[in-house]
Symmetry: C2
Subunit: 279 residues, 2 copies
Amino acid sequence: MIPQAMGMTVEMLEAKGPHFPNPLRKPEDLSQLKSEVDVRAELAYVFDAIRLTRRKLAGRVPLIGFVGAPWTLMSYMVEGGGSKTFMFVKTWIFKHPSTTHSLLARITDVCVEFLAHQVLAGAQMLQVFDSWAGELSPHDFRIFALPYIRRISARVPARIKELGGEPVPMTIFAKGAWYALDELCESGYQVVGLDWTHDPESAVAVANGRVTLQGNMDPNVLYGGREAITQAVERIAKGFGGGRKGWIVNLGHGITPFVNPEDLKWFFEETRRVTGASE
Amino acid sequence: MIPQAMGMTVEMLEAKGPHFPNPLRKPEDLSQLKSEVDVRAELAYVFDAIRLTRRKLAGRVPLIGFVGAPWTLMSYMVEGGGSKTFMFVKTWIFKHPSTTHSLLARITDVCVEFLAHQVLAGAQMLQVFDSWAGELSPHDFRIFALPYIRRISARVPARIKELGGEPVPMTIFAKGAWYALDELCESGYQVVGLDWTHDPESAVAVANGRVTLQGNMDPNVLYGGREAITQAVERIAKGFGGGRKGWIVNLGHGITPFVNPEDLKWFFEETRRVTGASE
């Protein structure tokens, strides 16, 4: 939605995800992008969908708004879709750091506006997904990803107030950026999402009460059937302190295809049993 | 080569890597595999190639033998090739832990034999690649990957001696298993390879002289041209103590397509300049 609002053509290909027929391959391609983006108008359909969903949910579960983080969005815009090698975007950031920063800043502006308007439309929490964070070395993450992650959390609450709304809690999920957990706990978000490569005990020790942690069962345990799911839920709940220390139960990444919905239900039921949480 | 020696059909597809037309999808498929594997006979062509290469190298550079680690080999054998979701192998390990361990043990036996014969044929160092380690949570890595990594390092030197050879240094590279660095430093290998998500300084602190570290420039920096390469080499060399503390210069993973060979050469030249290493 962000690249589309900025003027790019995006197609959703079945089983392949987003595809950009005209990716940004060199700094000159930036002329494809609009110089001014009216997020409220361009993405009106999203805000309409949020308003409708919020109404239909009728308070049964909270509605979470989200956006891709600037580094991840730039990767898609430059690669033209998912990538194995990240050749085009890595060429760009290492050869042209200055236009990288101006593109990341422009994407960030649109992200801030998009998130603020999602809250105005009814989102009760916000999550920022840096799905490709782990493609960057710690050094490059601190240059090309973290500053924009911080800028989003620094600006969104103020922008929401300016628009007449009330700020909501925000979550950062930077997949693969294990080396930055400490910095992410100081990045202005109330919740930090963890992928499944974190041992819950160690992550709790690093976070040390600064944020609520979210995660982190390997989504593929859902392929393993009831016994495997129960074992993983019990182990992970214990690691997060049995839910008593500020923990949002989640998978460590998105659910994968062909999971039996009954097994997902079992995951929820076992989580409630183990943590003593109510419906 | 290992799955082939065990009786599976393997094809190399251009730009896609290894492909197994008849993957092992369920425990019954294990009947595909030979009960006894004569590694020396089945992989004679590899040992011939090593002998020939060693002779032609004439001492100019050392010759490194290698093998995939059991977890990574099992993933290929079950998925039938590379995978995005690891659905089949994760289903297997979580549903059938007992046949998982018997398959991993059989693969390990063949790996040990293969590595020992590589040294007899002329390999002067050995590397074990657990390319898919990071797909496992720390808990599952300790169950399904680490014990077999250890078993290889525990058995290979003795097997080499039994065959009349001299043991050589061994390297373990477990991509994505950042959480296991401390354990990998105690896993019986002399060298631990690092992917580019490790900050050299932190890795040196964890290793604390127990092993020689190898790595770890993001291979995609090679797309960034001379200035980017120089900056990365200088930063990484500084992190590893300027080469004075036991460091094998390497990329943090395999080189990716379309790198200009002149840029790779520049990487070597800059490494020599910065570390003061000779040709």
